[in-house]
Symmetry: C2
Amino acid sequence: MAKAAASRPGESHTPTMVDVALRAGVSTMTVSRALKEGSRVSKATREKIMAAVNDLGYVLDQSAGSLSSRKTGFVAAIVPSINNSNFADTARGITDELESTGLQLLLGYTDYTVEKEEQLIEAMLRRRPEGIILTGGAHTDRARSLLKSAGIPVVETWELPAKPIDQVVGFSNEEAMGLLVKTLAKKGYRKFGYIGGTTSRDTRGSQRREGFVRAIEELGLPTGRLVSFGVPPISIEQGGQAVVSMLERWPDTEAVLCVSDLSAFGALMECKRRGMRVPQDIAIAGFGDYEVAAFCYPGITTVNVDCYGIGQQATRRLIQVIRGDEKRHGQEIVLTGYRVVEREST
Amino acid sequence: MAKAAASRPGESHTPTMVDVALRAGVSTMTVSRALKEGSRVSKATREKIMAAVNDLGYVLDQSAGSLSSRKTGFVAAIVPSINNSNFADTARGITDELESTGLQLLLGYTDYTVEKEEQLIEAMLRRRPEGIILTGGAHTDRARSLLKSAGIPVVETWELPAKPIDQVVGFSNEEAMGLLVKTLAKKGYRKFGYIGGTTSRDTRGSQRREGFVRAIEELGLPTGRLVSFGVPPISIEQGGQAVVSMLERWPDTEAVLCVSDLSAFGALMECKRRGMRVPQDIAIAGFGDYEVAAFCYPGITTVNVDCYGIGQQATRRLIQVIRGDEKRHGQEIVLTGYRVVEREST
DNA sequence: TCGCTAGGTGATATCGATAACATGGGGCGC
DNA sequence: GCGCCCCATGTTATCGATATCACCTAGCGA
């Protein structure tokens, strides 16, 4: 009766499945089945087991379960920052979509650097997730190689990487920003300025800038009005400072496009503070359709991207592969929609 | 040599520690030690092992490690919503503080309901976290009992629960809102209104309302101007709608206090949209010191609470107990600071 | 009546790592 | 020169669950 020692009365330890099995008078295998839905255990037995579980306050140990079943039930997701509401929305899309599946999320933030991303990927792979969702297509070589040998489905999001690792759920930031430029050009604006961060750390930001530059060139409009300000992610405050610098250098700028709604909002508030009329004196537009852009006054023209849907769809793709519903046909790409939302600021 | 079968050439499987050990010509125990810093392995051996690790692309399996060491390296944290920047800041405080410790975060959202919290607690306890951080002091009985029998340190945050489970890192929402009222009363405002959500789901919101009501009574000011609007968390948009309803019912209201900066911002923008002057026609204040409150125009008077610090300190308390640096003396309470930040809106 | 099927349950062997103890070889003090 | 101790490493026994296969008992058709 060596095993029974585990349930020696008076000993206070976290109960295991053996304790439950002994108390219910069944084998651990039956307990295991009773606790997993969809397996065949007679009603009477299941009730006995549930009673024992409640009496003992037993909680299944998934670490142990993962080891023998070789399935951890984890999904990893890596976003640049959770303090950015666009990515927080994506994270929520992921979480909501995972909820019914019993999979659990491991979430990490890169602070917009590929080095931190690599560290996170390595740390998370130690937990043997069954799939992983990344933001963007920029990764270190080592990260790529780690992911490759992990042998799990990978979904890159929020961009359309030139060299996808596996699946992609995203959109072209370049095109989206180009569409915004064209929409505003149609309204008659001619002298466009752009506000973004200084480095290429934020690849989506860089792509938007490229989209801006290219669209301006295609339309034959005055070029070169680019203000870089601050390390990405560029904040509300920096948006305000950047617009000042824009107006000092190019006072006749008619429309300012910003890398995100946060900087656009900062720019807008700074202009209001200085008594400028928006859009009469200057038009302002952002990117991302943050809540603040919709409800501030004047409302900010922006590009709505389906943040929540990106998370949701990325997760669905992952689940399909994990559940084996689908043969893997690599490098599948899901395009998510975007649309320009015109508001009072332009 | 049965074990050697695991490294049979040509077989493609995820390498285990046995594979590394064989390749490096040492035992798995030595590999295990080499991969854990702070254990004594000779330099030569460690290099051989690292070479084997790199050759094979080996990644440690922590599920297995957790099982034998009986330490999972997980810390669980449960917040109402990650889409609220106050809680996102707390989450970041937790993450940052965990970074150097090798502990990994399991993050979950309750959507402001105790039922969902209970589910999350149960799901997370299956992963055997070494500690858990909760938001607030409202929990179901079952949640309390699950936590008790889990035998891990618990930190409740963001409030001062009447009946703490274990440790607490937070502040009195009631007092903080009271301080805001008193500060504004000192400036001469007399007719105060309050905007908050409709239900008690958001316990911090309820506490702030109580703090408001009590302060108004203590000061002998006109009472009763309370507008409840929307299911918590109340959004920017709802703040705008609520202020309209406030002004319809009590047009002579001098100062409107909102449960959070988001609703305050919505109220402010709605007033601007209607051409009202803030603070001359109406003063507006919020709670939480969100980024938007600092940089909108006019800036919103608010109560700054140390969101990031709450996460940081909660994590520190947890780590101290986990690391055993400290004997447990239950129900320790850490008060975090708050301060009124006066801006242009009042 | 027999055998066959299927549902319910149990016995055993792992999953991949680490704790705990065992071992062996050198350095150092007296 | 002897003995002790410490460092580096190996051996063995788990950690707590589940996959797999075996087994048993009804129920049912031929």
